[in-house]
Symmetry: C2
Subunit: 203 residues, 2 copies
DNA sequence: GTCTATATCGTGATAGAC
DNA sequence: GTCTATCACGATATAGAC
């Protein structure tokens, strides 16, 4: 996404856009080259092969995606506020990059799944001390006692699905793009209210 | 899914399985023919082209998918029970066909989106009188006053996402397949509790 | 209906001129 | 570095034998 004007960066940006919206098998090397304003040969000159270029894009996108998620965990604020802000930031990020979750899920289902080792997201999360914060909040009776995986599933389900399933939901309800955008703004409020109310019943 | 032994049915079943798991561009006609135990020529003899066969499979899958969703709406039971049963049935259906939502969403993003006209799901839903039931429940103060699209989004988010994002969630939490299955059973309880609690605050 | 053989085209990748 | 031209391969689709 960086606006660098080197040839290499132009190719990578074009590849990113096309891979995300069409997937690896849904596009051709020539298409990427054309989007970048050049020839196929240059793509292979800089990135050796389509597959190699794809791997680079996937790593880059996944890094951006996971970092955007755990970024809020690092801040030193109360858990209940973190929860609100997390939902807020997720909707903000996904409004800008609505195709990324689908891209990651789809391509993750095929590949050899060794990307996450490379990204050491686990270390990043542990560093954020979010687990301790949840445990403490549950101990003092502020947060409902639910395992961490289910908490993550609840949060991600209600943040990501509205973006992932946009074409399906739009079609079922005959909604235009701008109507669906407005719906999302409303929906975020409901989601926040529901999740906070469920995870923190005393508030 | 019908176990018919005609050649045509064998091809359609094979195509269904492969298209759902790999997508249109992720497989070849030969692969489908081989899975069906025959030659490429026969596939085109019965279905004219790969694209035509794909359209037939998509229509069939979407019909099955939408009917499974609105089936529960037709029954003549109280709304709160319908809500519980809907979640139950969705998890049951998705456990059997975990790849279908992703398939529909992905392929829906590309195509010309005229499938739903063909399926007249709208008529089916209206026939089920679910809208009137929701309106009535909201009027008597039983159900929280939320628009129908957001209600649908809440339900689908929490039912579908855990299946759609399985590879991602599994990877982040280093869960094996059987561990994730157990997680889903637990999660369904939380989801039911949370949604019922939010949509029907007085209960 | 079912097969083998083949026509036609598009794709990934590279060689080689500039 | 950047281009044109080309190779090698695999894909869809079909013709034609049985």
């Amino acid at each position: 996404m960086v606006k660098d004007h080197t040839t290499e960066a132009k190719i990578k940006d074009a590849a990113r856009n096309i891979f995300i919206s069409k997937g690896f098998n849904g596009c051709t090397s020539r298409e990427i080259a054309k989007e970048a304003g050049m020839n196929v040969a240059l793509v292979n000159y800089y990135f050796k092969s389509k597959g190699h270029l794809f791997d680079i894009v996937v790593s880059s996108v996944m890094k951006e995606f996971t970092l955007s998620m755990i970024d809020i965990f690092k801040s030193n604020i109360p858990l209940i506020n973190k929860t609100r802000i997390f939902i807020d930031k997720e909707y903000e990020f996904l409004s800008k990059h609505p195709e990324i979750p689908n891209f990651i899920i789809t391509e993750l289902g095929k590949k050899d799944k060794s990307f996450f080792e490379l990204l050491d997201i686990n270390n990043e999360i542990k560093e954020a001390k979010i687990f301790e914060q949840i445990e403490e909040s549950q101990k003092i009776g502020e947060m409902r006692k639910i395992d961490i995986v289910s908490i993550m599933l609840l949060m991600m389900s209600n943040c990501h699905f509205p973006f992932i399933a946009k074409p399906m939901v739009q079609m079922i309800n005959s909604l235009k793009d701008d109507e669906y955008e407005k719906q999302l703004v409303i929906h975020k409020q409901y989601v926040t209210e529901m999740i906070i109310g469920y995870l923190f019943p005393t508030k």
